[in-house]
Symmetry: C2
């Protein structure tokens, strides 16, 4: 790195700017490497020496950038705890009203969120107990908000006769599982790419709760629905006799 040796007056200002930039750069590098190590070996299983070595520093130097180990974890998890609520708010502004499209767009938005912070999601899993109370609370609020939104979409869809689900909470959690699990297997450049994966899973999520088309038409009013069920029971009787034979 070049150092200006002529103009003595501006030297301190220039140095400060350069120094800040470099400091922010190193900070970011420490956070990235620490994130990967926490994700791999756990929070308690990762030492500050591990982190320092991967960024080419001594352990003591980490303390120049972060107050302590917990503070480093906090910096890494800051974004991932606040992002979901922000992203849901953004999504809500342009989300479709129709239940099917609403569910699909929500799932796609969530998959993009999860995969854009893949390593952090993993750290959240393994370091949840070590998280400072404030962040843990915020993270929990985010999870609650996500579950709530899924349940609202599903319940609304059921009321409109577009969806069918035994229990909206279980349905929501099942879909959350499909979405969150992507963080543990998706690798860019290996197999389908993000957009394709997001589209397919959004579609699967929709299919898992949507009314089969023909069935949908039968459930516009109670008498028609009851007639359909009568036919279904005849069908079921045939099936049972068939099994016996």
């Amino acid at each position: 790195m070049h150092k200006p040796e002529h103009h003595k007056k501006s030297e301190s200002n220039l140095d400060e700017g350069v120094r800040d930039k470099r400091k922010a750069l190193v900070e970011k590098q420490i956070m990235e490497q620490a994130c990967l190590l926490f994700a791999e070996k756990g929070y308690g299983g990762t030492t500050l020496t591990d982190i320092a070595e991967t960024v080419g520093l001594t352990r003591a130097a980490i303390y120049y950038y972060f107050r302590n180990k917990e503070n480093l974890l906090e910096a890494i998890m800051e974004d991932v705890t606040s992002a979901p609520i922000r992203e849901i708010a953004d999504w809500a502004e342009t989300a479709p009203n129709e239940s099917g499209g609403r569910l699909k767009s929500f799932v796609e938005m969530r998959i993009r969120g999860v995969l854009s912070r893949q390593a952090q999601m993993r750290v959240m899993e393994v370091a949840e107990a070590a998280l400072p109370a404030e962040l843990a609370q915020r993270h929990k609020a985010g999870k609650r908000r996500i579950l709530e939104e899924y349940r609202n979409i599903i319940k609304e869809g059921m009321l409109r006769g577009e969806f069918r689900a035994q229990d909206d909470r279980v349905a929501a959690l099942a879909i959350i599982g499909m979405v969150n699990w992507t963080a543990s297997w998706f690798t860019a450049g290996r197999g389908k790419e993000l957009d394709e994966v997001a589209a397919q899973i959004a579609n699967m999520a929709l299919q898992s709760v949507i009314m089969p088309q023909s069935r949908n038409a039968s459930f516009v009013d109670a008498p028609t629905a009851i007639q359909t069920l009568r036919n279904d029971l005849d069908q079921l009787a045939l099936l049972i006799n068939q099994d016996k034979a």
Copy 2:
């Protein structure tokens, strides 16, 4: 198992039997408590003192039952790494041939497996990096086997024209997500019970890949048909309440 209590000569044998039983009991207790602590605080974040305290022993006493910390982890993870392959083999003997029923029964079997070892699943997540090579390998083989079986069922269903999926690997991983994620939210006695949850998620998994137009696809066997009718009755109830309002 009968033990002679008269003949003084065999007294040492009696003691040994009692001692062995007690030792096995304490061993099991240590494993259970350690499992819960590892699940909560991570492997590196749990000390042997933590474990010893919860079972009312000194830390040194742990070394009477287990060679060291890693060996304790190994004992806890032994079952969970070998069970899946064994359970798949058992399942295969009585599994339906028809793709829909096959997928559903596989999902239900897997959910039962996951939830019968809920804490161990969590430990596996957080302690994967600390797992001895042999167990890590076995666990990986189990995961591969599960993914393979899902893909086979899905591919077979697609060949028969019963299923539709953009990419069978993504479909399989999405369903695996639904199943595995149950470990992170299911609590017995809170909300739906295991059988209901397993049935609903199995049904959602099926719906997520089944051909949509085939309403008859729901009527391949009696249990599936009954499940469909249950969903329909829920829907009908909603419809009636809606009309009232």
